[in-house]
């Protein structure tokens, strides 16, 4: 037990340490920041997986920073929930960093060190949010990750700084709402420690400030998560940023916000109260449901692959919110599993987007054609697999998170959610098969003849370099593995994290 306690710190430290180290290398060691980022995120990933296995078998780990017991000092809490999210965050970061080897120097020439440092700070901030057991400390980490996020979004094309500014304004509103909520909760309960709050709140009975505090936290975090009416910043931010920035932010940024939502609604407060006292989870669920449809419809309307994926993120975040909205064990399983699945899918899709961009110089779906398949067969295969998973067809991972959500919807007799899940799957089919048709089929309508065949044979294969191909294909393949292993994940990792009140 003693040595394992330090795991929580071992997850957190490498990222910040790496951020510090990445900027100190002399400029002529061009690959040093990349190596730093890969090594540190790999270490954090290893520690997270170890932590995940440890917490699954032996329960939570609490680490009192500075030796002060809460509520005096700050504690790091690694329970099954936070260990799971740590593993998702560090895992995605690890693969995206590997992928960045050749892309980052091309997209942000001369600024690799700053880029990797910022990206590691983002990862570190997110890990801090997940691990800390203190509400105010969470705010500090939230701002670390947000600042890094703004900067990553701001590098990109000419429009990027403005979209980053909008993201900053809205993000600051979100974080400030969170802090305001924390103020109210602290004034009612007298503590900033989540465990304390969880013990005090039921004893308070019906406390208006604490309730309002939770509502403020939920909406503040909803902004960060791009929950339906608060998703406006996301599409521009993701579209105009450089492709690696998007690939690092998209899979993990919104997921950690979802973590705070879960933590706030089901752990700090009594789930029964959140579900019935104030219909907060129901509101979250319905917002998620609207977001699912809205995001999918807008994704269909896009002609740029990256923008389409951005809107699809709005829709996928809706699934997580919908799972939270069900406020039942099955809903929670669905939400957490979808967090993992969507992180992998979205990372894979954005990496594919990067591969396409760096090979063809554009991501305009209207200009895709069948030569893409011949030139980049593996990338396109990865795209196909990820797309199938996004649609939610078995045996890929995407199907199973939807399965639990559908089960949960039936259990709650919530036919609206059920209908939304089914309809949105069909909408996903529309926008992904539109791309797949372009990549795999000839859409000119002419019969296939010798001339076509000669043309196709003349197209050379120009697959991405191994550093880009490996993470892309690995993530795509892991979608199949995650799909087949989902019962194991649910039983060993997700079941233990379900709070007793749910």
């Amino acid at each position: 037990m003693e040595a394992w306690v330090h795991l929580a710190v071992a997850i957190l430290l490498p990222a910040f340490f790496g951020a510090l180290v990445a900027v100190i290398f002399p400029a002529r060691w061009r690959n040093a920041p990349w190596v730093t980022a890969v090594i540190t995120s790999g270490l954090a990933f290893a520690a997270s997986v170890a932590g995940l296995v440890y917490t699954a078998s032996r329960g939570e780990v609490r680490y009192y920073l500075g030796g002060w017991e809460p509520p005096m000092g700050i504690e790091l809490v690694m329970d099954p929930l936070s260990a799971f999210f740590c593993a998702v965050v560090t895992g995605m970061a690890f693969f995206v960093f590997i992928h960045g080897k050749t892309v980052v120097p091309r997209e942000t020439p001369g600024k690799e060190a700053a880029f990797y440092s910022t990206a590691l700070l983002l990862v570190g901030g997110l890990l801090g949010i997940v691990l800390t057991g203190d509400l105010f400390n969470l705010y500090v980490f939230l701002e670390i990750s947000s600042l890094a996020g703004y900067a990553l979004v701001a590098i990109g094309d000419r429009r990027a700084p403005f979209s980053a500014f909008r993201y900053l304004i809205l993000g600051t509103i979100g974080a400030s709402f969170y802090l305001l909520g924390v103020a109210f909760i602290a004034m009612e309960t007298g503590s900033f420690n989540m465990g304390d709050v969880a013990r005090v709140v039921p004893a308070l009975g019906d406390s208006a400030p604490a309730t309002v505090g939770l509502i403020l936290i939920v909406f503040g975090i909803g902004l960060k998560m791009a929950l339906f009416p608060m998703h406006g910043w996301l599409s521009d931010a993701y579209t105009y940023a450089t492709s690696t920035s998007t690939a690092i932010i998209a899979p993990i940024g919104t997921k950690v916000a979802a973590y705070v939502l879960l933590r706030g609604c089901f752990y700090m407060f009594d789930p029964d109260f959140v579900r019935e006292g104030i219909p907060l989870t129901t509101i979250i669920g319905y917002l998620g449901a609207v977001g699912i449809i809205w995001g999918s419809v807008l994704a269909i309307a896009q002609s740029d692959l990256k923008r389409m994926l951005a809107f699809s993120s709005v829709s996928q975040v809706g699934y997580i919110a919908l799972g939270v909205g069900l406020a039942s064990p099955l809903g929670m399983i669905g939400a957490v599993l979808h967090t993992l699945n969507h992180a992998v899918m979205k990372a894979c899709l954005f990496l594919v987007n990067t591969n396409i961009l760096s090979r063809f110089g554009h991501t305009d779906i209207r200009r895709f054609d069948r030569t893409f398949r011949i030139r980049m067969p593996w990338t396109m295969a990865a795209f196909t697999l990820a797309a199938i998973s996004m649609i939610g067809l078995p045996p890929t991972a995407g199907f199973f998170s939807k399965w639990y959500l559908v089960l949960g919807s039936w259990e709650n007799a919530n036919y609206v959610f059920l209908g939304v899940i089914l309809v949105s799957s069909l909408l996903n089919v529309v926008y992904f098969f539109r791309v797949l048709e372009k990549i795999y089929l000839r859409t000119d309508g002419e019969p296939y003849d010798e001339k076509n065949e000669r043309e196709d044979a003349a197209v050379e294969r120009e697959e991405s370099p191994a550093s880009m191909l490996f993470p892309t294909v690995f993530l795509a393949a892991s979608l199949l593995v995650l799909g087949l292993a989902n019962a194991f994940i649910v039983t060993y990792f997700i079941r233990p994290m379900i709070p007793s009140g749910l």
């Binding site: 705010y139 900067a151 900053l168 602290a186």
Partner: protein
């Protein structure tokens, strides 16, 4: 009634500040004014914490032999003050990054007025 007002007027003043800040952030079209709104908003929250730390008839949280420290009634609550030190620095950092972004926007488009900016972005 007077007592009620006396106990709560500070909070309402803070709420007024919060609303002013939020209004500035959401409605103003000049990006600099948005940042100013943001600063007001953040500082209002800081004030709220500080107001929460207040106790009647208590002194600053620096140990003073005249006030026995066994009884917490004698000192203001030091915790929110500490936290707000951190929050202030965080706020400053955000404002710094916001200014950096404004510089970048101005470099690219030569304006900080949102409608003009949108116009120029669209005409690209």
């Amino acid at each position: 009634m007077i007592e009620f007002l006396h106990s709560y007027y500070a909070y309402w003043a803070i709420i007024l500040l919060l609303v002013i800040g939020l209004y500035g952030m959401l409605v103003k079209t000049n990006l600099m004014k948005k940042v100013i709104g943001m600063i007001i908003f953040q500082n209002a929250i800081i004030l709220l914490f500080v107001a929460a730390a207040f106790k009647w008839d208590a002194t600053v949280p620096v140990l003073d032999p005249a006030y026995p420290s066994e009884d917490p009634v004698n000192y203001l609550n030091p915790l929110p003050h500490t936290l707000m030190l951190t929050a202030i620095v965080v706020g400053v950092a955000i404002v710094g990054v916001a200014f950096a972004l404004l510089i970048a926007i101005y470099r690219n488009y030569g304006t900080l007025e949102e409608p003009v900016l949108m116009e120029r972005m669209r005409s690209e």
